[in-house]
Symmetry: C2
Amino acid sequence: MTRWLDADEQRTWRNFLSATQLVNEALDRQLQRDAAMPHAYYMILVALSEAPERRMRMSELAARAQSSQSRLSHAVARLEERGWVRRDRCPEDRRGNIAVLTDDGFAAIAAAAPGHVAEVRRSLFDVLTPDQVRALDEICATVRNTLER
Amino acid sequence: MTRWLDADEQRTWRNFLSATQLVNEALDRQLQRDAAMPHAYYMILVALSEAPERRMRMSELAARAQSSQSRLSHAVARLEERGWVRRDRCPEDRRGNIAVLTDDGFAAIAAAAPGHVAEVRRSLFDVLTPDQVRALDEICATVRNTLER
DNA sequence: ACCAAGTATATGAGAGTTCAAGTAAATTGA
DNA sequence: TCAATTTACTTGAACTCTCATATACTTGGT
């Protein structure tokens, strides 16, 4: 009953797996090497740095940083140990926590950003034509809208 | 000096991260739920199952399964515990090891494959038009050829 | 006011990954 | 021929992630 992948689909699928893994590995290696953090942490810090007053509820932060709640909890615990994030109790909902980016945290991400952007360009944008970038954007938006939630 | 991402590039980049992460999470969840293995293990078993006599040198297997040598070593150790893979010493190069897919291992992957292929279709091929699939193939091939090695 | 159900987050255990270092065998080259 | 280098693979520790479970608070009926 299974509709197997034909030769073209196999090729596409394997190219997809290779390409996405290579990009992710390049990102992670660069960040780990130059900024001592995994990409997941970087995304958390970026999300916080863009929030008003650099503070956000944990659950919203999880959504923005594309993290599960559990992963975020663990990550923020580590980031707190480094002094990059602080947790405030939420006054209007006392179950809630608010993650706050500290000045040290902001400095850390400001220092990490240029190298990271360079790596993003090196591993993705620089190797594609403008048309390919446009196509990729649409493809990813479609996938995202379909699978999200 | 940093050339930051403009608004379009930001959108593309975030769509790319979301889409690829969603696909990978869907794959991993399906395999973990229905076949009790992570995607990385699945790729190792697939690579072995396609090899002549279902056996391959560790280093070549790492390349085919897109795994680091260290990851592969750990993974094969686990797969060996399950009785899905065996390790033979390599006669002509006694440093080498040859991973061999056992009958149980072959049965495991044969059982896992249909659900996995279904998930691949659900999360990628079914949501894209044929043109998009072709474009994605080219894009990923380009990225792959650039970053590989 | 009370209790059941739902929500927000944390926590712990188990598993996989990475990185650095370790072992063993092959190769190089003086 | 033998020391130095390189190659193949493994190992251990540190870290992150996932999943299941726990905790604390809130909400919606009754």
